[in-house]
Amino acid sequence: MTRAWLGWIVLALGMTCACARRAAAPAEAQPKAFGSAVVLVSGDKQAAGVGSALDQPVVVQVNDDKGTAVAGALVGFAGAGGVTFDPDHGLTGSDGQFSTNVSLGGIHGRYQIVAATRDASGKTAEIRIDEIALGYQETLGKQVSDIHCVRCHDSESTPQRVSNHDNLTAQAHAFTNGATLNAMSDADLAAIISHGGAALGKSAEMPPYGNTLTKPEMDALIGLLRALSDPPYRPQGTFNAGK
């Protein structure tokens, strides 16, 4: 009897040790300094294919109470839905900034990632950053948009293409302009894409694409607008409402 009890005790001790060893995290980077706020430097609202790495790293900066950058503060990144970070934590550099490469999850839509740091008292300061994963539909939409739309709808020029945005009398809406575009239904958008601006009492500078784009291409384009929209697009309707 006593021997059996001894056996149980040994087993329990063994288990505790095993668990404890697992729970002991690998040596964490120790913060050399503390800040009280995390601010975004660059890399938010990027769009990339599902499961893919974003083109640009996400860069955040840790500031102290006076708003000066803090070097050597510990920053950790976290995100749900299969988002991965390379690296997911580390110390800020001499400029007070920390940069990480982000890969999005496997399902299209918006991902919110959180960058956090702790101040000397252990209180957490964090910032939430939105990124966008494009599914098939939005990827196709982006191809269509790159060919037919962005030259006028994007005011930024790139080495590959010169923007025509400022050459127009009417200011073409940016595709991220949720304030305007979210108020338009899918049918409204389809109408202006296929019939052009003139047919709907808007600027004739928007040509009709109804005979150029196919229906699936137009749907894909609208899907892209909805995905990029800022503030995020929430479809109208009653189906989400409770009984």
């Binding site: 294919g49 599902v50 499961g51 893919s52 790495a53 083109d55 839905g81 890969s103 999850g105 496997g106 399902i107 299209h108 839509g109 599914g135 098939y136 539909q137 990827t139 196709l140 191809q143 269509v144 060919i147 037919h148 030259r151 006028c152 080495p159 590959q160 293409r161 010169v162 025509n164 050459n167 127009l168 003139a198 600027s203 004739a204 500078e205 040509p207 009709p208 694409y209 005979n211 150029t212 699936p216 291409e217 749907d219 894909a220 899907g223 479809p235 309707g237 009653t238 189906f239 989400n240 409402a241 409770g242 009984k243």
Partner: protein
Amino acid sequence: MSLPKRVRSAWRYLFGDSASAFGTLSAVLLIVLAIVPAKDYFREWLGYQKQYLRLIHGRGDATSLSRRFQGGLQQIWMPELGVVDRCTTCHTALKEASLADVKTQPFRPHPAIPHKLTEFGCVICHRGQGAATTVEEAHSSTKSWEEPILPARFLEASCGQCHLDRPMGTPRLNQGRDALAQYGCVHCHTIKSPDGVVMNGTDAPPPLQHIADKTTREWIAAWLKNPQAYAGSATMPNFQLADDETRDISAFLIAQSAPYRTNTAPEPAPSQDATAVQEGTSLYGEAFCSSCHAVQNAAGMLVGGNLGPELTRAGSKVKIDWLADWLRDPKTYDPDTRMPHYRLGAKEVGLLIGFLSSKSDSDFLGTTQLAPATPAQIEHGKTLVIERGCANCHAINGVKKPENFAPELTLVGSRPLEKILFAPGVPHTLADYIGAKIRQPRSFGNALKMPQYTLASQQIDALETALLAQTQLAQTLPAALHIPRSAASNYRPAGKAGQLIDDMRCFSCHKIDGRGGDMAPELTWEGSSVQRAWLVGFLKNPNTLRPSLIRRMPKFGVTDAEANTLADYIMTVYQTPAFDQETLDSSRFTSADAEHGKELFYGKYACQSCHIVDPNKDKGYIGPTLTQVGARLTASWIFHWLKNAQSLRPGTLEPVWNMNDEDARAVTAFLVAQKNAPRKEVAQK
């Protein structure tokens, strides 16, 4: 002992008499029998179905959702595709668009795709094990599982099993297929498409039979050591050779080289003026060398195209006499080069040599010192060249192109994991294996021949996508399911004009009849489009039609006779059957027509958004400038272009306007009148 006593009493209690024994046995039997329905009740998928019913219960459209819900095991069965998919058993809401706000799996609706679920099932695209009915077995990507789910970033690989064309919705697959051809993968690895066509390279690696005339042994050795140190954009991978290996390979390459001019010695290079580098720089710009070649600017950014090699350090590479000969006519050295034959004069050749010589980097060759080669070194160099498979890409005297040098990759997307030797630290999935192999080939063993590539992670993802498309399924699918690519065209224009088109390598940039590059406009119907007089002028002195274009047509310096020959050929042969030039008589346009056309141009159709007719007023920056369009295009072409440009030049940016005849006629009348528009005012001041 008390224990047996207790057992004895329990036994007596349970089986003491026949009635107790019967009762006990019945109870045991009932419990045993209950296990079966209980096991059924607690099945994983049943739990998900109940969860789904709870999820839709509180929603506004619960009635219609539950009406469409089908309980029990669901299956999509397509024997001809080998599909037995039970995924819809748990993924109950794949077709319920109204659940777009649901973020939890397995209840998310499927995003919009061009295919019907019931026609393809799930596994053809997502892979995994379709017939399984537990989460683990259906998806599992644990170690050595043969049929794991395909990670989302490679999903386009599945499209590639049927789509041999370039669907617009699969940019990553297309990029990967291009990269396989562009980075020379296909020179060593045989990759067959499901239609049996073997992929060919598009990178045109230079022949090395005359290399000693072109460059020095020191340069070859330094280049072999690290091609990216010479040019960051070089597509040649790093073979990670030791110093004695680069010494011996360079010795052999110089030794095997034969002069490319067999009867005549190369003409000496024209004398250069060291102070004329500035003039050479402007000639480099004016000749639009940068349409194909890139040079790093002061900020370290590459400026220019990628059709030809990067020239940032060209001065450290080429011999002056060779360069002069090359600039005079590249075909003398390499008959298959993509570089056109410019008709450059001695002064221009001298200027360009001056410019290119200034593009040198003393650091690149700085440390390379080579003693004269010994016969043993040359012999060793040849052995290395054969071992490393240099002749897979390059033509080398005395070394034949090896066959089956590297493993065939036609079925790499279905390679069984049991046959794969994983390097330490690589997760045991096919996708991770392929990725690791491209990223760090030598991590699988130092003796491996595969070189080290310098690729961005996006490029590696694309390559993996293209390779994962090479599955057994793709090869065995019914041929009717394959979406064919556009057939490769071997079009060769005939006669004297054909020779000129070949001489100026028009196909490097222009597509005609399905053959050629896509850097410049397609010319298949060019004869129907332009006027002969304009064409002759343009060939002699190409001016820029599209203000926003960065890569432009160079001036080749063709003679009058050559321009006339080309123009005659283009005007006669490159005619579209879509319309007849005689259908529209431009001489019957009235000024009222033109006036009405002007109103339409600026009003109803707002063409000035993209085109410039009046340079003082219009700003449109996308399409060609139309200030002199009446002298450039034919009236019939403009008329039909306004109706349906895509049918004349598929893929053009001009939308299909579908203009009615009256409008199209009026706008044409306005445009043909734009012949001698005044020069831009800013230019006169």
